[in-house]
């Protein structure tokens, strides 16, 4: 309703401005409906966390919070050192994200801003590694980690992933389109070394892309499962997803406790997302991944 007077001056032909409120309301309605559909499963995760398992699979399923949150929570704590596992996840995810951001930005910068011998060949090789199905790597990965003596230590997971092809690809796309080369040239003329240029010129300008990459990396590390399964060997070193899976027996799964753990595990991600999303949008406006 209020948008009509605002929209009118920028759109002179009456026929179009007359259509606008309707199509606008329509698209907002669609957005809203889509949002509800998207949000519903997420909502149920929190609802289920407050119900015992026989209620979770009843019909109709519970649609509002129940009274079993404390029961579920106690049952969860009796089965695993949950907070310890959550801390392990946090430690791993923070290290993975920090190192990934540094090395991928560095690599992306090199591929975006430099001309050097073998560049296209090396970049092609980098992209090709994205195509390799990683599901079969279980045994060789375990062999390497045993040879290095890294079994049961988090570094077995964050070191191999800290400079990954996807991250370098993403940062190269962003830096190449969003940062003018003149800025880099100017810094060189001022006598800065290449690394100083990177640190003082490039890093401050890549905030939004870093927010995207950081978010994706953090989420993947946080929810990661196959890697921790190979590396971690005892209840004290398990990450949260791995520990939560131990609740899933072939027959006897305490779904209430499991959902409680799952809901608690997603809370740190929500907090992170709340912080990252501002940067994401701000940055996007300044022209990420421009064509």
């Amino acid at each position: 309703m209020t948008s009509t007077p605002l929209a009118a001056p920028t759109a002179p032909p009456r026929s179009i401005s007359g259509k606008r409120p309707l199509s606008r309301a329509g698209s907002i309605l669609l957005l809203f409906l889509g949002g509800v559909l998207t949000l519903a499963p997420f909502y149920f995760m929190f609802i289920f966390a407050t119900h015992p398992r026989q209620e979770i699979f009843s019909l109709p399923p519970p649609t509002w919070f129940g009274h079993d949150l404390t029961n579920n929570y106690e049952s969860l704590l009796s089965r695993m050192p949950f907070w310890r596992n959550l801390w392990n996840s946090l430690y791993l995810a923070v290290l993975t994200t920090a190192t990934t951001l540094f090395f991928c930005t560095l690599g992306g910068y090199a591929f975006a801003m430099y001309e050097f011998k073998g560049k296209s060949w090396l970049f092609g090789l980098l992209l090709a590694t994205l195509l390799i199905p990683s599901t079969l790597n279980i045994v060789p990965f375990a062999l390497i980690m045993q040879a290095l003596g890294w079994i049961d230590t988090p570094r077995a997971l964050w070191i191999p992933g800290m400079a990954n092809a996807f991250g370098i690809f993403l940062m190269r796309q962003y830096i190449g389109s969003a940062i003018p080369r003149e800025l880099v040239e100017a810094a060189r003329i001022d006598g800065a070394t290449e690394f100083t240029t990177f640190r003082k010129v490039i890093v401050p300008l890549t905030g939004p892309a870093m927010a995207t990459l950081g978010l994706v990396t953090f989420v993947q590390s946080w929810n990661g499962f196959l890697g921790p399964l190979i590396i971690f060997r005892s209840a004290e070193t398990y990450t949260a997803p791995l520990a939560l899976r131990t609740l899933q027996g072939i027959a006897n799964t305490d779904w209430g406790a499991l959902m409680c753990g799952v809901a608690l595990t997603v809370v740190p991600l929500l907090i992170l997302f709340a912080f990252a999303s501002r940067r994401l949008i701000d940055g996007l406006t300044s022209g990420a991944l421009k064509g």
């Binding site: 026989q54 045993q146 079994i151 399964l229 060997r233 791995l242 131990t246 072939i250 799964t253």
Partner: protein, 416 residues
């Protein structure tokens, strides 16, 4: 005096030795075996105070995957590993698990103490014993007395034969609108496939590795036919495997008239699955006077373990100690594989949930009658292919001879 002093000195010595030589043993398990081992430790430590046991529990599939990786790479396995019966054949290949038939274990001598069908499952063709049985799942037909009564059907009419199961099952469903006779039609086929085998035959292969699946094999044809009849008569809830959400809900709502499963199902029904139906469920033998086992677990010792002596002590305690086997039964309903574990007074008591029926005696008798199945390393492949073929028959996309012929061809191309 002198003797006493000597005794004290010996005791002191043994204490200090124990403190110095305390062994830490790790055991890898999956739920609910973790509860069993947890309950067993106080008793075990009374016997062996110098052995510290650490439990590493993972989800069912994860546990077996982690064990596969550890055996493949030769490192990272626990000193004792729980193995579900479905995986025993897999870990029997290669030399990842210690051969318990050899000295100092001599497990072969213990075989007669266990229910007959268990040891052959863990014994390879060349006679190695890779694991010790701890629990079994003697199967029975569970049925709702109230639903049957409403249709005027007696349990003996249901389990006389598969034909009479279907004929009378139709009456039960007709008299109780909204209910189903069985969670999934494929269950019937799986039971028929596992019973009435010729001696020496495996499920899918005979002794000489010849594929038994064929449109001419009566066992397969009957299994597929019965399942198809159940599906076509709209008697099943199409719930897929046990513990699927569909299956769980059907149970909770009391929409199932019968279910075939191991004795352990009662514990689940009583605790959460069908809480509201206490006294309304009962147990009888499977249709057609057949006997089968649902699940079962074993303990083995990986060859890479550095504490094999202590590990063997723990395995022995968990599997051959009658008191412990009874404790496990009371903790999670894990039915003892050890015969001596089945003579406790508790077996003569009625099961409250089953309307005080003395069902444990029924299960004990059934357990003794279960035939051993010869395992083949290609069983998992054949299993998958046959259940796919069954799925195609049930949804009407293939007829039985075609499905079996296709399955036969798919399995045969794997036998090199």
């Amino acid at each position: 005096m002198k003797i006493q002093r000597l005794f004290v000195a010996a005791a002191l010595l043994s204490v200090s030795l124990a403190a110095a030589q305390k062994t830490t043993l790790t055991i890898g398990v999956f739920p609910d075996l973790d509860s069993v081992v947890k309950a067993a430790l106080p008793g075990f430590n009374k016997l062996y105070p110098d052995i510290d046991v650490k439990i590493n529990s993972l989800a069912y599939a994860d546990h077996h995957n982690a064990l596969t990786t550890a055996l493949s790479t030769g490192k990272g396995a626990n000193d004792v590993e729980a193995i579900d019966f479905g995986y025993v054949a897999k870990f029997a290949e290669g030399n990842g698990m210690t051969d318990l038939s050899k000295a100092p274990y001599n497990a072969g001598a213990l075989a007669s103490k266990f229910v007959g069908f268990t040891f052959p499952q863990a014994t390879t063709q060349d006679g190695r014993i890779v694991a010790m049985p701890t629990d079994i799942g003697p199967g029975s037909m569970f049925y709702r007395t109230d639903l049957l009564a409403k249709a005027g059907v007696k349990p003996s009419q249901l389990n006389a034969s598969w034909d009479s199961y279907i004929t009378n099952g139709k009456k039960v469903v007709a008299a109780n609108p909204g209910t189903f006779l069985i969670p999934d039609a494929s269950e019937a086929a799986q039971i028929i496939l596992r019973t009435g085998l010729k001696a020496g035959d495996g499920l899918y292969f005979d002794k000489s590795n010849k594929v038994l699946i064929s449109p001419d094999n009566a066992r397969f044809v009957k299994a597929f036919t019965v399942a198809k009849q159940i599906r076509d008569a709209k008697l099943d809830a199409k719930a897929g495997g046990a513990f699927s959400p569909e299956w769980t809900t059907a149970f909770q709502k009391g929409n199932l008239a019968t279910e075939f499963s191991g004795a352990w199902l009662v514990g689940h029904m009583q605790n959460w699955l069908a809480k509201d139906f206490t006294g309304k469920w009962n147990a009888q033998n499977l249709p057609g006077n057949t006997f089968a086992s649902w699940g079962g677990s074993f303990y083995g010792i990986p060859t890479q373990s550095a504490n094999k002596d202590a590990a063997w002590k723990l395995v022995q305690y968990l599997t051959t100690n009658a008191a412990q086997q009874v404790l496990a039964f009371k903790t999670t309903g894990a039915f003892p594989a050890l015969k001596a574990g089945q003579t406790d007074a508790v077996f003569n008591q009625g099961v409250v949930y089953l309307g005080n029926q003395k069902a444990r005696l029924l299960w004990r008798t059934a357990a003794a009658k279960i035939q051993p199945l010869d395992v083949n390393k290609l069983d998992p492949i054949a299993d998958q292919i046959v259940s796919d073929a069954l799925g195609s028959v049930l949804d009407g996309s293939k007829d039985i001879p075609t499905a079996l012929a296709d399955a036969q061809r798919l399995v045969e191309r794997r036998t090199r």
